[in-house]
Amino acid sequence: MGEILLQIDGREVKVEEGMTILEAAQSTGINIPTLCYHEKLEPYGACRICTVEVETGGRTNLVAACLYPVQENLVVMTRSEKVDKIRKMLLELMIAHAPEAGALQELAQEYGANKDRFEKEPSFCILCGLCVRYCAEVKKKNAVGFVDRGGRREVIFIPEIAAKECWNCKECFPLCPTEALQAGYLLTEALAFPSGNR
């Protein structure tokens, strides 16, 4: 693999071909916030908090840093008025579901997000899918998954698999960006009411 020269926040950066913008930034110590990213997992691109501005061929675009592959002469701005505005609102939208989440609160502070902008609907979950994907990709157990779609999407443990696998694993619990206990709650619920009668 060859090397690629690009510019991040005004700095010339030399990185390996095939890297994403996020990896390139991390390799040079530039911080881009993430919530659904995990280095052991396939990039997912769901929280969009890593949105950055890129310039190629004279055009600027907003792209997800965790997915966008680096290109020669790419110009990346990890902060800009547009980027900050997007991150602020994404945080406001997510915080309505997980008001107590530490990771969200910290970022909210940094981006000036108003925690009360949207009516609270605490589900304690921002559907980042870290637990789901970790279980599928690393543990290969698929004990936890998404159900439903659109605005009704949620995470559930599959009772038949969870009963066998989860108590001795729980490796997904600490990955949760909102509340490690949320996974525990859902797991207990799945095992206590396996037929979904809740």
């Binding site: 769901a46 505005k85 609102m89 779609r149 999407r153």
Partner: protein
Amino acid sequence: MPRINSPTELEELRKSILSKRDPDRPCIAICAGTSCLALGNDRVIGAFEEEIKKQSLEAKVDIRATGCHGFCEKGPNIVIYPEEICYMEVIPEGVSDIISQTVLGKKVIDRLIYTDPNTGEKAAHQSEIPFYKNQMRHLIGNNTKVDPKSIDDYLALGGYSALSKSLFEMTPEQVLEEIKKANLRGRGGGGFPTGLKWETARNAPGEKKYVIVNAHEGEPGAFMDRALFTGNPHSVLEGLIIGAYAIGSHQGFIYTRHDTPQLRNNIVVALTQAEGYGLLGENILGSGFNFNVEVHLDIGIFVSGESSALMRSIEGKTPEPRPKYIRTAVSGIWEKPSNLNNVETWANVPQIINNGSEWYTSIGTERSKGTKLISLSGNICNTGVVEVPMGTSLREIVYDIGGGIPNGKKLKAIHFGGPLGGSIPASLLDTPLDFDELAKLGAPMGAGGMLVMDEDTNMVDVARFFLNFLTDESCGKCVPCREGIRQMLKILTNITQGKGREGDVALLEELAEVAGNASLCALGRTSSNPLLSTLYYFRDEYEGIKENG
């Protein structure tokens, strides 16, 4: 079925089919499209069969159950050949009269022909009925002439001659060049240049390449792909095989609806018949070119029509969009170059090859060429499937073809492109049907669903309807789309209930901007089109409702 091994054999077969057909022999083409069937046309078909048997006319009169004729409003529809007499709103009880008076007696029955509701003028032939005569039915017009389950009907109309020409008289590069010169643009919503996409897939590295028909048609209010594909499946299939040849693909997929058994069935029959004749499979027409097609049923959710979600679905995974920083034409199904086109796009290919790109570019506007299928619905007299040359004004579609607005109401707005499209006011009625003109006005054509709305329509409700639709029909993976739609919908619901608040409109605009800029796929990125267009053209309705409340 004899296998055809050369272009000469194809022409011989065609001649032999035609020689067995008497052009003067009466044939009753009965619409068996979705809408007419729902109106009871299966009973009409049954009644004709019975009557013909009763009068022992089997050797003298043919019946053809066809795809959608287009004039759904007036169904059940029939056309009687060779005179091409159109009868509308036919009931089983009228069948024996039709046989004795028209088919045998050659007399037109007045009460069954079209009557203009305004002038009272009568019209018996497609060439005289305003709904049909103001169209240019290059694609859908053959629906009345073929039984979708008969490849011989398609061959009789010159079918598969474009394939034969491509394989034996043109190189793949020449086929590609012809499509590029024709300026064919994708009919599935984006209007992307088809030739460029084919070229990208063709040049992408890798031996294995796929070509795909997008027959998902998830846009609410759109029913023209179904009408075309169900009624004339070989026209789409022929286009697909030609595309595969140009791109260098040997495997195709048809991604179609799980809930339209008739369409699925007609596709399967078409594939089997094409294979039987050697027009599909190994060594097509003896050319050495191999190509196979598999049918995949969709997951009945709107987002599964999006290209990357569709490809995941074909891989057997959940139809969730994949970020497309690498185009699917380069890396699609199983990371192989995968060229996806809409049903109507593929159906345009054979006629471009047959008639040449110059003929094709003579139809339409500067940047939108050819004809376009439109599903006309809403507050319009003539609901149905319409085909017009690009550049036709919306006024002509609404009034000359659509017959205007029913119940003496005034036209208020026209909505194009379903949940990812937009609404424009009646004052813009002289806008031509054109990808770029409509997109500029904030009402991108989408796949061609055209919803006509009268003066009683509440435009905030229209925006709310589409956002509500997307709540259930998006995947819910990414935050800006899932949460953005949730909040926009809440605000709109409040406004329509008179509970709007100061700052609602500004917040809606900010949510729309974030969803538009940060969402993962085109669904999220264009989900606020209906909202933004109605905010732009009908802003007072948003603000007015707030004040009243």
